[in-house]
């Protein structure tokens, strides 16, 4: 009985230490680079398209808290080799009201951008 309890505790501890699997390549989660924990901001599906030769992105966001939250963000635009094709963007600030869902639209600065990363940080 004692062994079983110890075994269960060890299993729970080990499971607690396990790191979550990395996001699948190409998935929405793989495009997000969070600087620290994102507090009360949920990043949902992303719509990626090419319009008039430029890559366009629309990211859905949700404030999971009932209080207003600020999000700092910027996009990094990458070429087919995975390296940036333009200067780093300026950081921007977005306010989401309590429980608000919103969209974050962005347009690539150059036609050769074929991938992106969304850098995000909550204060």
């Amino acid at each position: 009985m004692r062994h079983t309890i110890f075994g269960l505790i060890a299993l729970v501890l080990l499971a607690g230490c396990a790191t979550p699997p990395p996001p699948a390549p190409g998935s929405a989660a793989s495009k997000v680079v969070a600087m620290g924990d994102l507090k009360n901001i949920d990043i949902g599906p992303m719509r990626v398209a090419r319009e008039n030769g430029f890559m366009t992105v629309n990211v859905s966001l949700r404030n999971t808290s009932s209080y207003n939250k600020t999000l700092y963000y910027r996009f990094a635009w990458l070429g087919s080799d995975g390296f940036p094709v333009a200067e780093p963007e300026t950081w921007k600030s977005l306010t989401l009201y309590g429980s608000q869902s919103s969209f974050l639209p962005a347009i690539a600065p150059v036609p050769k951008a074929s991938d992106f990363r969304l850098e995000v940080k909550t204060p």
Partner: protein, 197 residues
């Protein structure tokens, strides 16, 4: 015994000296530092670097992606009209917009009002001074006229109370076909900055 003590002392001093050696590639006061030029600047709620960068970024991308600028047309950029109550170097907004459009490869720019005099002076110098080898002289009458002109304005609404100062900026930009006079593209960028006292 004494020599061992001396040796230990020398070793300790040498260790201290090398430990204090500055191998950082900096010089000067620790109170001065370089910051991130792309950071969100909220030092005051007057027009700032983040506003300038956001406006230029938003306008350039909207215009480049609109599909209006087909075949890299020549554009004449006019100074942005400052209708706000504060001093804003609007030339820097147009310079940023021009630079980013040029980098996107969607437009070329004709000499604007300030560049025109230098351009005319250089053409006159080359053609009238007799100083240059004729085969290298740029001929007059070959300057390319603009197909579009780009005009913008920035205005603000400022409200104050005992607790708040609220500034609302609105930047408008439009692309007009010079021949027809028709506005082919327009966009706006709005920015609100509030200070709680």
């Amino acid at each position: 015994m004494l020599s061992t003590f001396r040796l230990s002392l020398i070793a300790a001093v040498a260790l201290l000296v090398t430990g204090c050696a500055n191998n950082s590639p900096t010089l000067g006061s620790k109170n001065i530092s370089y910051g991130d030029t792309k950071a969100v600047e909220t030092v005051t709620n007057e027009f700032g670097s983040t506003d300038l960068q956001m406006i230029a970024e938003s306008m350039t991308r909207s215009l480049a992606q609109s599909g209006t600028l087909q075949g890299r047309p020549v554009v004449q950029v006019y100074d942005v009209k400052n209708k706000t109550s504060e001093y804003i170097d609007t030339r820097e907004i147009t310079t940023s917009i021009k630079t980013q459009l040029m980098k996107s490869g969607t437009a070329r720019f004709a000499s604007d009002n300030t560049d025109m005099q230098s351009q005319v002076d250089q053409l006159k110098l080359q053609n009238q001074s007799g100083l240059y080898k004729p085969s290298t002289v740029s001929k007059t009458g070959n300057m390319v006229a603009a197909k579009y002109r780009l005009e913008g304005s920035i205005s603000s609404i400022v409200k104050r109370s005992s607790d708040y100062k609220d500034v609302f900026y609105k930047f408008s930009l439009q692309l007009i076909d010079v021949e027809s006079g028709i506005a082919e593209w327009m966009d706006e960028k709005e920015i609100r900055k509030t200070t709680e006292r």
